[in-house]
């Protein structure tokens, strides 16, 4: 099993700040625990975390590499755990571009120095100051030679959808270095990012969790497809994380219908966008929607748009809304299990995972 979304928590900020040059460190300390990252307008009413995990003296899980290796790799049975950032997902939304670049560098160094050496089943994500594409590209180039980094991580919340040419250099640098690009929902409405929905800012966490995190992923998906990004960068691979999947067939059908009638505006789209999606884009499964007894319907709908090949398992450890791997595997049609739980991620990430396809 390969887990495509393991959220590392910053429980001890000094662990990261040690990778920041001394004259700059105090600034981050003065920003309190979020280190200058934009805060959450919508907070979970109870807890962000599963209640059955080991916590350190800060009361938080997910911050200790050995504990994460035990809980995700040993206990949940992952052959590979791909580390994604948590709060640092929003580094590209900080108002201060220079502080963002330094913090991104430090976070990436932290993964490389403090996390990867603890377990060779860890792989990681490169966080980048996406508000400054030149600096983001430099950071990708700096990290890419370490093959334990498998992807560049961008937040769902953004200034523009990622098909915008502003972001092209970031996507090109990822593809040129054999890295995937992962877009993880979240951080909408924070820092430089726009509000989570076209209707404006939601009031409640549940609204954000239902609509905001799906809307941003939809926005990026159709932006990338419509700009013809995958014609410009044929090697680009994109993983969309935690935006849900049950909406996907409906939106793809809607978009393909529009493509037939509106092609004058985007004549470079030479095939139904849903076909491009199948070759270049994968979806992390968590949180796989509950269907109230209609799972068969969900599988049929997803199969119509490329499942199981477009799905890769993710746990979202250590968050409260995670999908436990055995439960998820049992829920899937039997013929989908091997692909969704393992093979699709191997094919997607390629040699950076360094695993045989069948294991």
């Amino acid at each position: 099993m390969i887990d495509c979304d393991v959220h590392v928590q910053i429980t001890h900020p000094e662990e990261i700040l040690k990778f920041i040059d001394a004259p700059e460190r105090e600034w981050y300390r003065n920003q309190a625990y979020l280190l200058g990252l934009p805060g959450y307008p919508w907070s979970n009413p109870s807890t962000w975390f599963r209640g059955d995990l080991a916590v350190d003296e800060t009361g938080m899980p997910g911050g200790n590499p050995a504990t994460v290796a035990k809980e995700v790799l040993d206990n949940q049975g992952a052959d590979i755990g791909i580390l994604t950032a948590d709060d640092a997902l929003s580094v590209g939304l900080m108002q201060n571009t220079y502080r963002a670049a330094a913090l991104a560098r430090a976070h990436n160094d932290w993964f490389r120095e403090d996390w990867f050496p603890v377990d060779d089943r860890f792989r990681g994500s490169i966080v980048v100051p996406s508000q400054d594409p030149v600096a983001a590209v430099a950071e990708i180039e700096r990290c890419a030679s370490d093959r334990r980094f498998v992807q560049v991580l961008l937040a769902g919340g953004s200034e523009r959808p990622y098909g915008d040419p502003k972001y092209l250099p970031i996507l090109e640098a990822a593809a040129a270095n054999g890295l995937a690009v992962a877009i993880h929902s979240g951080m909408e409405g924070m820092g430089l990012a726009h509000q989570p929905t076209g209707a404006g800012a939601p009031t409640f966490y549940i609204e954000w969790h239902t609509t905001g995190s799906a809307c941003s992923i939809m926005g990026h998906l159709f932006s990338l497809l419509t700009h013809g990004t995958f014609r410009r960068i044929p090697d680009l691979k994109v993983l969309l994380i935690e935006g849900g999947v049950a909406w996907l067939p409906g939106m793809l059908w809607r978009n393909d219908t529009n493509w037939r009638g509106l092609r004058d505006d985007t004549p470079w789209l030479d095939e139904p966008p849903s076909e491009t999606m199948k070759r270049h884009i994968r979806f992390a499964t968590q949180p796989l929607e509950h269907t109230d007894g209609n799972d068969e319907l969900l599988w049929q709908m997803l199969a119509a748009v490329g499942a199981p090949d477009i799905l890769c398992y993710s746990s979202d450890y250590p968050h409260w809304d995670g999908d436990e791997p055995k439960w998820l595997a049992n829920r899937l049609p039997e013929a989908w299990r091997q692909g969704v739980m393992h093979d699709n991620a191997v094919n997607f990430y390629g040699s950076r995972l360094d695993l045989p396809v069948a294991r």
Binding site: S46, R50, G51, D52, D292, W320, D321, G322, D323, E324, K326, W327
Partner: protein
């Protein structure tokens, strides 16, 4: 026939410190309600996706009316440690979806020992 089983010393069951026993293949936990001090015996497996329910919390249920009104009601729920679904401590039913229910068991204390009928 369900029988009474001696599970734990009463003093050992505290809020946040459940007692867990395996009875005929089922894991059953006894949790302490911090509000009423009552004991709750409940199957240690969430009917949603299988979390160990006794690692969750026992809470007083919050209800409310539109307009931003919240109030605590006289109802205790066991809250799953994974996805936060609630289960009524007396019936085991999830108030949000009665198709999801967890077994709850009679519990009594005798001579400082906790007995569960299962």
């Amino acid at each position: 026939m369900s029988e009474w089983h001696d599970i734990a010393a009463e003093a050992d069951v505290a809020p946040g410190a459940p007692a867990i026993a395996r009875i005929e293949g089922r894991e059953i936990g006894v949790m302490r309600d911090p509000r009423t001090n009552d004991l709750i015996a409940i199957r240690n497996r969430c009917p949603h996706s299988g979390a160990k329910l006794c690692l969750g919390s026992v809470e007083q249920r919050i209800e409310g009316e539109p307009g931003g009104h919240y109030h605590l009601v006289d109802r205790t729920v066991v809250v799953c440690p994974w996805h936060g679904w609630e289960f009524d401590a007396s019936s085991g039913v999830c108030p949000e979806d009665e198709n999801f229910r967890v077994a709850v068991y009679p519990v009594r204390v005798e001579h400082g020992r906790v007995f569960v009928q299962a």
